[in-house]
Structure formats: structure tokens, C-alpha cells
Amino acid sequence: MVQRTAEEALVLIRKRLCDPDYIFSVFSDSPDSNYSKLKFIVSSSVTEACNNSILLLGPRGCGKIAVLDLVLEDLLKEYPDMISVIKLNGLLHCDDNCALKEIARQLCIEHELMFSKMASSDDNSQFMIAMLRECGLAHKTVVFVLDEFDLFAQGKQRLLYSLLDAMQSVSSQAVVIGVSCRLDADQLLEKRVRSRFSHRKLLFLPPQKDDLHRLLKHILLLPVDSSLPHDYVTDFNSRISNILADRRFIEITDKLIDSDSTVSNFVRFLFSAVSCIDFKSGYMTLENFKSALSTIQRQPKLDCLKDCSILELYIMVCMKRLEVKEQASYNFNSVMKEYKSIHDSFQTSDIYSRNVCLRAFEHLLDRQLIEFADRGHNQFIEFRSVKLLISPAELHQGLKSNRSCPVILQKLLETNCATI
């Protein structure tokens, strides 16, 4: 029975975590939030029947699109039949013809018209301008959402020009909203486009600590008025509040925020914490959050080093030694020479034939611990110069963490580093 309720609670929280609209609704109530600002701008251009353009800028995972969706949803409720939304994505529609086609398609769906797949891009462009005029006459605002705005600024920017140029006429009524994670997105625009663009920008920043705290409560606390048993909900919530107040928990979140404080990173952390929940007891514990932190903050290079075989470690230590010797560039042959010289002077037991070493070398390339430094295509692996992709400190730590690593290797690396 406990398991059933715990499962139900888990599904509820996971649904919240996978729904960005729910997550960002917590930030919508304060008057100086981006939500309120954006809503004001868009709604004023709807009511005053004017053209407008705005850029939403900020790092990835700060809720630009989610907030925009919330605003548009609200406005669609407030002003039904006065807004139609056209959504484009730079990843999908950065080609002008493709974008025009998509605009025409969405306009057709919106206004229940027949869409012709065969229409040329010229037809589509004319259709769009005509529709803009029609909508303007009917006092209907068309909202263009351009996600990954920086990608639209590649090439000739014909689409942006024709969109913004159409907005210069009195009869049209449209809002162009660009969304980008490049803060210099408006600098990418051509002069003719830039002059037609209003330089309104909204900056989305990662939330502050107290905001994150609010977010935590917003996501983790179970609603009292749900189908879940009342006792369970109160118990669950009190335990969560205890954890949130715990000093150790605050340490964990601080560690997380130090590396990346965007909401999406935080949500990922919560998701993996929540999925660790133990169905037998049915409650979350501090351990869940601890293990989530370690899964989110992985160090892939160190993991790789931990998996390396002894021979692969030998090769990397040889490369490091060559680097310390200030050899400008080196390749497999020079690594082999170093490998042999180590063997000659220390009589190690790990001596393998050249073919075997070459394959180990290829494994390292596969693992992306080393990389070719040149772009030679018709050369052989043996002769192409390579470089290490890990720092000496990482290599050192990797050697330490590898259980079967021979002591001689660590010594070789240490004496080598000491000489410089």
C-alpha cells in the first residue's frame, strides 16, 4: 500500500519536473519578473494594435521559452481570437524557403485555409504579407516566435528582413520575438535588418538562491488536496521541509550551484534525486540528494582513466614525459621510443609488441583521451602527431584511482614532473 502511494507521489513529482511550464510558473507572480515585463510588452502591442519586436536573451536552461509559453497561454486566454502564434525554430527553419513554407503552413492551420505543399517560396512570401495585412485589418496580432534566433541571422537574413520590413507598414500588426542564448544576437544582424528591429531586450539570468529555495518547495512539496492519503502527504512534506533546512543539504545545493546555477541543471539534479526514492519507506532522504549530486557531476575523463588498462596508462605516461621534455610535437613512433627506454632503464614486466601498443593507442583515441594534433588525412597513425587531452593533475589522479596501476608508473610521472 505504501509502495502504491509512493509511486503515485513519484509520478506526480516527475510530471512536474518534466513540465517546464509548471516549473517556471513559480516566478510569474512577482511584478518585476521577466514574465510580467514580457506580458506587459506583448499585451500592450495587442491592445494598442502596434508592431513590436523583442529579444529574449540568456544562457540555456533559464526558462526563456517556458516563460514565453506561459505569457502566450495567458494572453490567448485573455484575448481570444486576437492573437495567432507562429513558432519557428532556428534548428529546423534556418533555411529561408523552409521558414516561409512553415509560416504559410501554420498561418493556414490557424485560419483554416488549404495549404499547398507545391507553393513556391515567392508565393509563400506573398501569402504571408497578404495575411499580415488581412490580420492587421481585422485587428488581429500575429506573434512570431523565433527560437534559436542566432541561427536565423546566418546567411542573407532574407526572412528576417521580409518579416521586419512587412511590419513597417501601418496596416500590419505583428510582434516578432527572438529567443537566443547568444547575448550578442542583435549584433549578428545586418544593418538593414538591425535598423528595422526595436532594440528591446529581456535578459534571463540564472535564479538567485532564495528563488531556488522557492523552486524547491514548489516542486517537491505534495499538494494537500490530491488523491494521495492525507497523512502521507503531511508526513512527506514535513520530511522535505526538514531536509531543506538541513545544513548538509544546503552544502549539496551550493556545490551544485557553484558549477552551474541554471534552472535546467537544478531540475536535472532533482529528477535524479527523486528517482532514487525508496519505495519501501516511501519518503525522500538526504542520501537521495547526495547520490544525485554524484551522478550529475560526473567527470568523464577521470572515469575513462579509471577504466584504462595498464598498457594504455603506460602510453599516456610516456606521452606526458615527452611533453615535459618540451618536445614540440610527438607521434606514436616517439612514444614507442620512450616506452622502450622506460623498459630498458626500469625492467618493467609490461612490455608488449608494437602491434599491441598500436591497438592500445587506438583505444586511447577512441576514448578521446588523446587526439591527433594535425589534420593529415593520407598519413598513417604512427606518423601523425598527437596530443594529450588531459592535464597532468588529471592523469595523476587517474593513476591513483586506478586500482591495478603499478607503482612504477606513478613514480615515473612524479619524478618527471619534479624535474621541471
Partner: protein
């Protein structure tokens, strides 16, 4: 990929193999009668589902990973963030994911970026599976939907996904009413699995496809969609200028020795014997590689060797025989270690071992050059060409005269002087350069000149019973066009066999330059087969 994965990865073929009939005419009639695919076909196979214990025991050494994935996927009908499953080659990523879905009995769409080698193929494959479309003779083996652009794909995918999810929800409603859940699909979530994602990085247009795949969840906005990416390299090797929101990583470490042993012991008859064998052998081999696929090819011939002295394989070896077996095996381990990665015909390995055993110092010899004969056929003139190309690549062009002129042959010895400090430094530097640069390039004329020199000096030593054609082409008159073209033909066939590579043309002369790609070992072998004193002509610094 690895041997243990192969039975599971071929899901599509096993699904189709049920329709296979040997008679071609009959099959045409049969294929029309094939039942159309249903939503039921989106789950793993038709076999009965796995229990959790069965799942964990079927994949030794992957217990933690299985539990982690199960936790992240969550209970039925719970939405999931995109997962990124990564780990080295042959660590059981694909089979674990597929077996987990077999256990969960949830619908999924598996597409590997290896078999779907371009974006279009990938899109078609996903849509075909989602739309329950089967390529057959009736539809001329065409795909369900044509989609060339990513924008079209997203629209079609969304349509298809919504259709499938609605279908699943409808099914669920029905089955819960009729209480007949058996053989039914679990839940209304659909999972898209992308395998070998690391290959997408080298596709053309990868700059837009990768971020698209990673953002699929946000773009589609279908809550009933789960995304799972399987890749052999970690997330930090996926570069894109403006980045993407990372999926949740799940790491598959390489198997430990313990795990490897368990995998090798699976489904084996004489497990006691194998276990004693593995105890001896695994440790040295793991120092070189822990990759399952490579280990299994290296160990299977060694195990045969191990079993050879035994009469009855079912015997449980006692301490004494164990020691005997070990002493028998001991000398074979060393050479086998050096053969791990070599793909070679069985007898040559054996010969190598025997030779090494004769010399009684199998490990001291660095490299295995004891295989004297080359294992491919080549005409004598081609062998000479190969050698001359090798010489042209290794020797500096300025020394050709002193090596090959009948008058200047002795000049070589005169040059020997006592090496001063400075010259030794120079020597080291040039050696370094040789290391870095690899074999040099040469024009065709130089190759032909060296070839003529070699063959004219060797012509008398050629055996008498060789046919006149060859003699003429080797030692004879090169002015004749037909023979010259024969040599040129040999050069081009050496090129296509990758013994020579055509490099870029020389900026001054404008002619194509060649480069010899054979290693010194191979060149020496070829020279030995001709009884040609190669080392006499090779310039050593």
C-alpha cells in the same frame, strides 16, 4: 559490436525473419497475408517478459547500471528526462537497455545511427517504426512518409507520436475494463532509443542534427515521450557553439575482471576447467585490454591449447593436474599477449609460437618477426617494385647515385667518419624528424630508375627457370612500350592495394608524388623471399 550483443541488436531482422520462406514464389503470396503490425510490435520481441532477477543475472556485472536505469525510467506512465547512456566499447550498453525494455514490456523505437547512416535514413527508420509501417513488395519497399528536411521530420514525428500515444491510451482503457492485461503493452509512454550517437558527429550537417536530437524533448513537447541516447563517448566530446541542455548521464564502466569471468563462464559446459583457466589467464590479459570482444577472440584459441593435454573434458581437475596444465600453458601466454589484436590465420600464430619456443626466449624478443613467409601472392616484378618504392621512401634522393651506381657503390664506406658531438646532435635531430615525418614522397621517375637499377643488378642472379616474359620485363629493354606499360600497371595495382599511396602533386614539378606505406618488417620479408640484400641498400643514419 560485441559477440554477446549480437542476438539482441538484430531486432528488426528477427521480426522479419518470421515471414521468411525459402520458396521465392511462395513468399510473394505469403507476404501479402502478413498480419499488419500493431502497437504490440513496439515492445521487445514476442518472448515472455523477463523478471528482474532474470534481467540482472542475464547481464553479469551490470547490476548497478540496470538498477539505475530502472530507477530513472520510473514506474509506468511517469515522464522521463532524456537519458544519455555512455561507456566504452563492448560494455553492454545496448543489450542492457534492450533487455531492460524487455523486462518493462514498454513500447520503444530503436534506431542505430550505425545502420541508419544518414539523417534521412534515421528519420525514415523512426517514422516507419512509429507508423507501424512494413516495407514490402506491395509498397515497393518504400517508406511510410517522405521526409527530407528536419522541419518535415519534426512535424511528422509529432503526428506519429501523438497517434501512437493515443492508441496506447485507448488500449489501456480497454484492457483495464476487460481485465485482460496479458500480452498487452505496458503504459502509454513511447521511448525513442538512439544508438551509436557518436557517429552522428561525423555526418554532414551534424551541426544541426545533434542539437536537434538533444532538444527533441523540448521541441516536440510531447510529455509521453522518453528519449535515450546511447553513445560510446562522453558528453564533453559533443561540441556545439551555443551548447544544449545536458541529458542525465548514465555511465557504464568497463567490466572488472570479476565481471569478465562471469561473462565468459555463462552457458559453458565444463565450467570448473574454464574457471581455473580464466584464473590463470585473465590477469595478464587485463593488463593489456579489458574489452570483451578482443579478449574473447584472444582467449578461445588459448583455451583449446589448455584443454589439449586432457583426455576427458568433464573431469574436474585436481591440484596436481592444474599445475601441470599451467606449466603446459605458461609458454603460450606471452606470445599470445603479443598477438591479441592481430587478425591472422591460425597456423601462422602457431608457427610463431613454435619458433619462439625453439629460441627459448619468447618474451625477450620485441615484436614477432618470426613469420618468414608473406601470406599473400605477388609477382616477382611487383615485389621488386615494392622494394624500390620502400627504398625511395626511406633513402634521401641525393644518395641514390652512391647506392645504385656501379661505380659509386663503394663511396658509402668512405663516408664513415668519427662522429663528433655536434654531428651526433644533428643525427638525433634528423632521427627525430624521420620519426615525425614518416616515409618520404618520390616522383614516379625515381621509382622507375631505382627499379631498373635493382633489376639490372639482380638479373644474373635470377633463377633460370623463370619465364622469358618476366625476365624481359625485369632485366630487359625498357624502351619497349608494352613492357613499360606492364610496369606502370603494376604500380597502379600496388596503389590500389594500398602498398603505395598517391600523394599531392609537387608544387614545382607538378607531377604526382608517391609514398610507400609498407613497414620495414614487411619490406624485409619481401626482400628475403627474393633473396635480395635489402639492408645493403638502406640508408641508416
Amino acid at each position: 559490436m560485441s559477440t554477446e550483443e549480437s542476438p539482441h541488436v538484430t531486432r528488426r531482422t528477427t521480426r522479419l525473419s518470421s515471414s521468411y520462406t525459402p520458396n521465392a514464389i511462395e513468399s510473394a503470396a505469403k507476404s501479402i497475408n502478413l498480419p499488419s503490425l500493431t502497437l504490440r510490435d513496439l515492445v521487445f520481441g514476442k518472448e515472455e517478459t523477463l523478471t528482474l532477477e532474470g534481467l540482472i543475472s542475464s547481464l553479469p556485472g551490470r547490476r548497478n547500471q540496470i538498477l539505475e536505469i530502472l530507477r530513472l525510467l520510473g514506474p509506468v506512465n511517469s515522464p522521463v528526462s532524456p537519458l544519455f547512456v555512455y561507456g566504452g566499447v563492448s560494455t553492454g550498453k545496448t543489450s542492457t537497455i534492450l533487455q531492460v525494455f524487455r523486462h518493462l514490456n514498454r513500447p520503444f523505437v530503436y534506431s542505430s545511427c550505425r545502420t541508419c547512416y544518414s539523417a534521412r535514413q534515421l528519420f525514415d527508420n523512426i517514422l516507419n517504426q512509429l507508423l507501424l509501417h512494413r516495407k514490402s513488395e506491395i509498397n515497393d519497399y518504400s517508406s511510410a512518409k517522405k521526409c527530407e528536411k528536419q522541419a518535415d521530420f519534426i512535424n511528422l514525428l509529432k503526428e506519429a507520436l501523438v497517434g501512437v500515444v493515443d492508441g496506447l491510451k485507448g488500449n489501456m482503457g480497454k484492457s483495464s475494463r476487460s481485465k485482460k492485461s496479458e500480452g498487452c503493452v505496458n503504459g502509454s509512454m513511447v521511448y525513442l532509443i538512439f544508438d551509436s550517437l557518436e557517429l552522428v558527429r561525423v555526418w554532414d550537417k551534424s551541426a544541426t542534427i545533434l542539437p536537434l536530437l538533444f532538444k527533441l524533448h523540448d521541441i516536440l513537447k510531447v510529455p509521453d515521450l522518453g528519449l535515450i541516447f546511447i553513445s560510446s563517448s562522453s558528453l564533453d566530446t559533443y561540441h556545439w557553439d551555443t551548447g544544449f541542455v545536458d541529458p542525465i548521464p548514465v555511465y557504464f564502466p568497463d567490466y572488472t575482471e570479476e565481471g569478465l569471468k562471469q561473462i565468459f563462464m555463462r552457458n559453458q559446459s565444463n565450467s570448473k576447467l574454464l574457471s581455473t583457466f580464466l584464473d590463470v589467464v585473465l590477469k595478464p590479459f587485463c593488463r593489456v585490454t579489458r574489452r570483451l570482444d578482443e579478449l574473447s577472440t584472444a582467449l578461445s584459441p588459448l583455451f583449446k591449447k589448455y584443454c589439449e593435454p586432457l583426455d576427458d573434458l568433464d573431469d574436474i581437475p585436481d591440484e596436481e593436474t592444474r599445475r601441470q596444465l599451467f606449466t603446459c600453458l605458461q609458454p603460450h601466454i606471452g606470445p599470445a599477449l603479443n598477438e591479441i589484436f592481430r587478425v591472422t590465420s591460425e597456423p601462422s600464430v602457431e608457427a610463431g609460437i613454435k619458433n619462439n619456443l625453439k629460441r627459448k626466449n619468447p618474451l625477450k624478443k620485441f615484436g614477432n618477426d618470426s613469420i618468414d613467409d608473406i601470406d599473400f601472392h605477388m609477382s616477382t616484378s611487383a615485389k621488386y617494385l615494392l622494394i624500390s618504392a620502400f627504398l625511395a621512401s626511406r633513402n634521401p634522393a641525393t644518395l641514390d647515385a652512391s647506392f645504385f651506381d656501379s661505380t659509386g657503390g663503394s663511396a658509402n664506406q668512405k663516408k664513415k667518419r668519427k662522429a663528433s658531438e655536434k654531428s651526433r646532435d644533428l643525427k638525433e635531430a634528423s632521427e627525430q624528424e624521420q620519426f615525425m615525418k614518416g616515409p618520404g614522397t618520390f616522383p614516379l621517375e625515381r621509382l622507375l630508375a631505382i627499379f631498373q637499377c635493382l633489376t639490372s643488378s639482380e638479373e644474373y642472379s635470377l633463377e633460370e627457370d623463370e619465364d622469358s616474359q618476366e625476365k624481359m620485363s625485369l632485366g630487359g629493354d625498357f624502351g619497349e612500350n608494352s613492357l613499360m606499360s606492364d610496369i606502370l600497371l603494376q604500380v597502379s595495382s600496388l596503389c590500389s592495394a594500398n602498398f603505395l599511396t598517391k600523394g599531392g602533386s609537387c608544387p614545382l614539378e607538378g607531377s604526382t608524388r608517391y609514398r610507400s606505406t609498407v613497414s620495414e618488417d614487411l619490406a624485409l620479408k619481401v626482400a628475403r623471399s627474393l633473396k635480395f640484400p635489402l639492408s645493403k641498400y638502406l640508408y641508416r643514419r
